[in-house]
Amino acid sequence: MSDREIASDDLSLPKATVQKIVSEIIPSDLVFSRDARDALIECCVEFIGLISTQANDIAENETKKTIASEHVIKALQELGFSDYIEPVREVIQEHKESQKGRERKIGKFEASGMTEEELLRKQEELFGLARSKLQHDEAVQ
């Protein structure tokens, strides 16, 4: 197993959040003990490590420096969690949709139809015009 050291409470999941999630899952007649919750958190952190390491290996095999969602999906497949793949794909889709919404706000730049260099040149032109107009006006007075 890997040697990484995680200081005990340092890098863990927030207990309150985990408790909340647990209470959304368990039937109303059962209670999760505090020890059980802490044990669960340990297991969750292990799970994150497992998926991350596998996804990282997959990315490296593709000589990619960044771990992408597709690498995580392959990792889930390889580790026996293929039943998680479909819901995970939905999350990816939602994320893409929300990104698309954001890109529409940059419309002005795209709408100008010019590249950045062209816009910069245009800006210089306008500055030049304004400058000469200013000098002309001063000269006249």
Binding site: S2, L13, E24, I25, H95
Partner: protein
């Protein structure tokens, strides 16, 4: 594993036993990213990646918690303890990677002898079935 993860809201009463579980609370995505990158081998992650891991984690948690509850029920216990988690892990192939992690937890009492207090291993509780 035969669980369906639908997005429909559960019926108002007794939701958890028959209806698929819907979790509304979210994991902190930034924290998940930090946990991932605590491992020096892990480099950059794409923006969507911690979100995706968070979803997988949620599904994992639902599964483990439900299996643990089933173990508690088998022993007529009202409180789910680490022993029940341990048994759930040992019984489920998907959770094999947790075998080391759970080895330090108390063993659960055998189901057939649930009325007798377990031998105990020095932890606080005398009756492991509590």
């Amino acid at each position: 594993m035969d669980q369906s993860f639908s997005n429909e809201p559960p019926p108002s009463d007794e939701r958890k036993q028959s209806a698929p579980v819907v979790v509304r609370t979210r994991f902190p995505v930034a924290r998940i990213k930090k946990i991932m990158q605590a491992d020096d081998d892990i480099g950059k992650v794409a923006q969507a990646t911690p979100l995706v891991v968070a979803k997988a984690l949620e599904l994992f948690m639902i599964s483990l918690v439900q299996e643990s509850c089933a173990q508690a029920r088998l022993r007529n216990a009202k409180r789910v303890s680490p022993a029940h988690l341990k048994e759930a892990v040992l019984k489920t192939e998907q959770f094999d990677f947790l075998a080391d992690t759970v080895s330090k937890y108390l063993d659960p009492v055998a189901v057939s002898s649930e009325k007798e207090p377990g031998p105990g291993r020095g932890r606080r509780r005398k009756n492991a079935a509590e």
